[in-house]
Symmetry: C2
Amino acid sequence: MTTADTPVRIAVDAMGGDNAPGSVVAGAVEAVREGGVQIMLVGDPTIVQAELAKHDVEELPIAVIPSEGVIVEGEPPAMALRQKPRASILVSTGMIKQGHADASVTMGSTGGAMAAAAVVLGLSEGVDRPALGGPVIGVSPNTFVIDLGTNVDCRPSQLLSFAVIGDVFARRFWGIERPRIALLSVGEEAGKGNRQVRDTTELLEKSGLNFIGNLEGNDLAAGKAEVVVCDGFVGNIVMKLTEGLGKALSAHIGKSLKGKLSDSELDAATQDMHDLNNIVQTHGGGPIFGVNGISVVGHGAGDSTAVRRAIETARHTYDIDFIPKLNEEMAEVFARVQED
Amino acid sequence: MTTADTPVRIAVDAMGGDNAPGSVVAGAVEAVREGGVQIMLVGDPTIVQAELAKHDVEELPIAVIPSEGVIVEGEPPAMALRQKPRASILVSTGMIKQGHADASVTMGSTGGAMAAAAVVLGLSEGVDRPALGGPVIGVSPNTFVIDLGTNVDCRPSQLLSFAVIGDVFARRFWGIERPRIALLSVGEEAGKGNRQVRDTTELLEKSGLNFIGNLEGNDLAAGKAEVVVCDGFVGNIVMKLTEGLGKALSAHIGKSLKGKLSDSELDAATQDMHDLNNIVQTHGGGPIFGVNGISVVGHGAGDSTAVRRAIETARHTYDIDFIPKLNEEMAEVFARVQED
């Protein structure tokens, strides 16, 4: 926890993302000007200093920390980590481990950031691999879906850990006292679903969480639960399908309503179709879940505003004590399901 | 195969569906008037005769076949089949088995129809359970997705059998010479995906089918393949999610564009949002796949037009020799993958 006097120390990977380092440095400067944070920009010092020189930063709490190399989107993360031990994402994540930073932020490779977080920060008790989650469907902005793609073959205990993550997220980020937790399945009746769902149901019923049972695909668009748990294979397909529908429907609206709406109304309607389907692009990133520290991944294509928001998310995640609370609840829930 | 002289004999479950028997009988009469079929209406004779009396059917090839009871949506099919051995769906499916009908049609319980078809007609070689498939996403009307919910825990050989069904469907129904077959997964690169996808990839590569690799969720809305294979857990979530989005987006458009479009334009735009998402409601039913006979299930809420269309689908499925061609290709493909 922090107070107004002690700014949150955030290590920012200045080299990651499509618009790095320009937008990253600009976004970091914006965040510092808003107050409450001090920033360590991790990257090639010459390049980062040249970017910083474009801003008036003399009095601001911004330091430059040298790194060598960057892990780009699409590189196999494990190999990249070995080949580039001084890569910006490893150095920025390492600063948390060494006690020099409270959180880290990158707009770079999600796979790289997750691998770095798992290796450097370690996993929370009960977690096998880091997870990604968030509200992904625009028409259900208050439904947190987890996992979105990292964990494709899940044991029931992994799905239980996702439920705990979602519960703590909805409580701490959204202030909901007893978030409704559901399993994504193919029928609402208990006992419907695949083997994974049936086995996980047993665990969730003993978990002490506010487990409301199964939801079906159509319920995802109806906001029937704050947390919807699924394996990363299913979650990724849900996320990507809505992304694809958003594009297709937006294009369709653009054509079919052209001439019937004013230009500005048409722009608003097509944008709506994007945003009501997939909101990952709009909302942009969030913390990696299941690791022992705060590592926020923003959207690779994000501009300086997206960088500033990712930094704010990192600060907020720290302010609300997310990691300690998550570890606490994870231990409690796993103890509870193992009781009998 | 049939000629113009020998009408296709279709057993119609007169008791199944939300609007039975009224709409079912009316739709059957419409179908007979269109020509090319003779109809056996299976149901409670008194009730069915009373419905028939509302139409001028004296000269038409329509017979009434008695049955007792009906299996309704939501009843556990296996138990219902045992408890109601003379239920309309069992009698109508049985007429194929006994050589009195070439195909059967129901607007009733999908689960009941599938169970009846599996038990009475038997499964195609290589098939473990009947499957459902069809174009489910409105923006991709030429993408056949299979399975949609019956097979929730699939071995790779089951997914292979879905690929064969899709291939034969796209070739015989759509006239596409070499349909593109894809596996739904979480990354386009070979090797990406869960265990099931990786194991199925090996089989598909040896299958002789036009296997184009993995597609991701967003590709589903982009018409990148004629056939997309997934297990029924995933397929059902895809189908239902698009259904839910169709409803939500349609409602949203109705509100956000009210006053900006004329009433008729607004109606068209909201209808569009339904149809571009999930088209199962619109398109209504199709044959059950993987059984040794033609059993077509129409949409439970369908009107007489939907019944007539379902009867046409049954006739067409018979005319194109779908079942023999499917059995043939299934045997060939399974022999091919077992070669080495």
